[in-house]
């Protein structure tokens, strides 16, 4: 079973488990661009909850917020996270709605958003749209980092939205199209809001997420440095207390993510430690990211840092 097939099956499970859940998207009734809704459509009992819309990118998120207000739990299947940039104004209103209505309307709204390089189309796939989303007040931003956990993240994100409000789940396309490194998980086994150490180590702490997580793991192996690797996982709000403990444990921090360096989520992480922990750090806080300048579509892979560059940063940090 491929990651995409697993996700399609999990999406159908989610609809079976709770009939308030509906799928929303431009072509969900046809199975969706990546086939994510095909199992829902194949099931007679679920099909009517696959709500196809015309191409209405500007109001997409606001429309979904209205569904949520009406008591549905919309799961919006996006062609890509880029779609949320077109719907940003509505997304901001959607994310603010619950706070603004002082008598507590809940908006259990979840966006499933493939992101980053993978299709060869470049454009916004080479950017860290996540940093824009992380700034939207009231919006939760989650990001899967391991292919085998994609289905588990799907459920976790939908449940997170039900308790915490509007949530975007980023699914890096490299993960969606890759072969999982281990057996597929159906349960995340931890809070979606929590960061998660995926490798222990005492000399350097590496923070990574999304498409950069596997790169970071490979880089550590390559260097032979005794480095811990933490999957940040929840990009908004950041799990700062755990992350701070992880950073202090080694006093050496390397932050690895896809997309440009300037203004990325890595900047906020680094800035946090430049304030809260500077006196506990023994080395500069290094950020290793994708290309910082625009990238030609055919070079879209440059949006993900290479193992070599990450390895070099880890070695450098360890040597301070």
């Amino acid at each position: 079973m491929t990651v995409l097939e697993d996700l399609a099956a999990r999406l159908a499970d989610l609809l079976r488990d709770d009939d308030r859940r509906v799928l929303l998207g431009e072509d969900v009734a046809d199975g969706g661009m990546l086939g994510l809704s095909k199992d829902v459509v194949a099931d007679e009992a679920l099909r009517e909850r696959a709500l196809s819309t015309p191409l209405t990118p500007t109001v997409l998120a606001a429309h979904a917020a209205g569904l949520a207000m009406a008591g549905r739990h919309p799961i919006v299947v996006l062609p890509g996270v880029e779609a949320l940039l077109e719907g940003l104004a509505g997304l901001r209103d959607a994310a603010a709605w619950s706070w603004r209505s002082d008598d507590g309307v809940s908006t259990p709204l979840c966006f499933i958003a493939p992101c980053g390089p993978g299709l060869g189309l470049g454009g916004a796939a080479t950017e860290a749209v996540e940093a824009v989303l992380a700034r939207v007040s009231g919006l939760n931003v989650l990001c899967a980092g391991q292919a085998e956990e994609a289905g588990a993240w799907l459920r976790a994100a939908v449940e997170h939205a039900a308790s915490e409000g509007p949530t975007v789940l980023l699914l890096p396309r490299t993960l969606l199209l890759s072969a999982p490194r281990g057996p597929l998980a159906h349960d995340l086994g931890r809070s979606a809001a929590a960061s998660h150490r995926v490798r222990d180590g005492g000399r350097v702490t590496v923070f990574a997420w999304g498409a950069a997580l596997d790169v970071a793991l490979d880089a550590v192996t390559q260097t032979g440095v005794d480095a811990a690797v933490v999957d940040v996982g929840c990009l908004a709000p950041l799990d700062l207390s755990t992350l701070q403990a992880e950073a202090r444990a080694t006093g050496r921090l390397v932050i690895v993510h896809a997309g440009p360096r300037a203004g990325g989520v890595g900047a906020e992480l680094s800035a946090h430690f430049a304030d809260a922990a500077i006196l506990h750090l023994d080395a500069p806080v290094l950020r290793v990211t994708g290309a910082d300048a625009p990238v030609r579509p055919s070079d879209e892979g440059d949006a993900i840092p290479t193992v070599a560059r990450v390895a070099e940063a880890i070695t450098r940090s360890a040597s301070y």
Binding site: L51, T53, T56, H63, G66, L67, D103
Partner: protein, 308 residues
């Protein structure tokens, strides 16, 4: 009946300029006197709020009929999403003048000054992005139980925005039980670009998307009410969305008296012997004293400082 540049083309009316029912028209089940009372209250509200000095305050005098009509037609379980100049909806839905004044001034709640929302009264206020409340209303309609309509309103300037046109596309293509009420301001001296006047009417544009659409004269509260009621009926019966394009005449520009919806309905009632200056005085005195008390309470609260 003389026609002036103030008289809109192609907008249906049931009352003529003198407030007489046109041939064959009936009131239906409309309680015109109760409606009139709410319109007078709405006007008093607008004048009082206009004196609060709220930032970017937009007066609603002359635009009351669609606001009050929506509030009368929507039943308790149905949502109304206003979109500017819409404080009258809350009043007509039963919000107390005091709560209304506290909310509209930004003293209570978290809406922008000038806007009022209330989950209890099922009133959604404007969004940060212009007209985005229409899309939220569309989503609500998409998820609403069968048999209920969702009401949403905006001005004609909004009709060129994505939030409006993409909402029409959603409403048409997903057969949403929505009633979209557009307040199309009359520009007797020509509209500026930002008024969004394109083609013959907003109703025409909605109709070309396959939507049921009607254009009515906002100076005739009866036509406004009955057309919105028809749209609501269709939506509740699952027959799809409707757009009611109401040509409103801002009183700010000093139009002739027959362009004032309140005056027009007054003439109607008067011709039936259902209006008297005493009735009018009592209604006005009552709402004004309630509003004065509410504003006094607001001033007291503001002097004592702190958010409520």
């Amino acid at each position: 009946m003389e026609t002036t540049p103030w008289d809109p083309e192609g907008a249906a009316a049931l009352l003529d300029a003198e407030g007489r029912l046109v041939d064959g028209a009936t009131l239906g089940s409309l309680d015109a006197r109760a409606y009139y009372k709410q319109l007078v209250e709405a006007r008093s509200l607008d004048l009082r709020l206009g004196r609060l000095g709220l930032p970017m305050w937009a007066p609603a005098a002359g635009e009351e009929a669609p606001l009050v009509a929506m509030a009368r037609i929507a039943d308790e379980a149905e949502w109304i999403f206003g979109g500017g100049r819409d404080a009258a909806i809350a009043l007509a839905r039963g919000m107390t003048p005091q709560e209304l004044v506290f909310r509209v001034s930004g003293r209570e709640g978290r809406d922008r000054p000038g806007h009022v929302s209330s989950t209890a009264l099922k009133i959604g206020a404007g969004t940060d992005a212009l007209a985005m409340h229409l899309a939220i209303a569309a989503g609500y309609a998409h998820g609403e139980d069968k048999g209920r309509a969702v009401f949403a309103s905006c001005g004609e300037g909004s009709s060129t925005t994505a939030a409006f046109t993409e909402t029409l596309a959603l409403a048409a293509s997903c057969t949403l039980p929505m009633v979209i009420v557009v307040r199309s301001q009359l520009w007797p001296n020509g509209a500026p670009a930002e008024a969004g006047v394109l083609g013959d009417s907003v109703a025409d544009r909605a109709r070309s998307c396959g939507l049921w659409a009607r254009r009515v004269d906002g100076a005739d509260p009866v036509a406004v009410h009955n057309t919105i009621a028809s749209a609501a009926q269709r939506a509740r019966q699952g027959r799809g969305p409707g757009v009611v394009d109401v040509v409103v005449t801002p009183q700010l520009h000093d139009p002739p008296a027959h362009r004032d919806p309140i005056e027009r309905l007054r003439r109607f009632l008067d011709s039936r012997g259902e209006w008297s200056s005493t009735f009018e005085d009592v209604v006005e005195a009552d709402i004004r004293s309630q509003l004065d008390n509410a504003v006094t309470a607001l001033e007291t609260a503001s002097q004592s400082g702190g958010a409520s």
